[in-house]
Amino acid sequence: MRFVATLIALPLLLSPLAQASSLLKPAGKPDALLPADEAFVLQGATRKGQAITIDWSIAPGYYLYRHALKVTVDAPAGAPFAGPALPAGAKVQDAEFGEVEIYRGSLAAQLTLPADAQAPRTLRVRYQGCADIGVCYPPQTRLVAVK
């Protein structure tokens, strides 16, 4: 009798434990990787006066390389700007590339527009990063409308 009752009740009582255990899985498993657009969320480009700021949100456990970040104007072609000005990144010693700068958490890159120049409407942004578990994503290129 007790045995039958235990058989019935046990799975029901253990189900919350099973749910909790899935939260305890190591986050470093390759099968739990984020797609590039969720690891490195390009939030947009915003103009204020003569400055355009491009913002990223970077998921925990992922990072972007400073040296791999490039910005060009897509439209109108040839619209001038200075930059991007990038904040100092965290300096890390890469086993293959030597000292590199990386960004975690968030990144804001700033472009400066010359006075009286035609402002860019669309930027072409290229960036590349990796996950701490030891894989890297191909360079990502995105067209971003300036708002």
Binding site: M1, A5, I8, A9, P30, L34, P35, A39, A95, I133
Partner: protein
Amino acid sequence: MSGFSRQAALVAAIAFTAGAAGFWVARWMPSDPPVVASAPSPKTAVDGDIEGQPAPALSLPDTDGKLRTLKDWPGQWLLVNFWATWCSPCMHEIPALIATQTKYAKDRLQVVGIAMDDPDAVRTLMREKGFNYPSLVGDEAVQQIMERFGNTLGALPYTVLISPDGIVRYLELGGVDEPKLDALMARFLPQ
């Protein structure tokens, strides 16, 4: 009420109570769905269904510009390594791949690199690192090929073992080292 009926009623009562408790716990305790809904969603990076299946066909130029396919190495075990010069973990595993090519060539193993990169950068790096195996080169085409080989996110490095009958035997996302490759060869290559 007979003894059996009393037992059945008691079991039903316990089951109902446990079910209600389970419902209450599931309703009020923090659980996976709200966490997933408000956070980025990890996805399966490798579709393991390709293991045991015929390797998808591919055709890419090598560093001399000559178009190559996997059929260029008939009767060989192929260790196909997707890599790039901008990928630090890819660079890190190259010595292990070179050593594996040296050690297991007699066992009909051929390492084949597939670089998602610029051909000039690949040629230069292959010289610097002393590659003893060939590498094919491409850009977006390499990403599409990786997807067909089960790598759904395009992350590197990615290594695939294919047996001489053209069947995919093993997939590895992330870096490999010599002990891991030795273990892989011991597991799959005929002794």
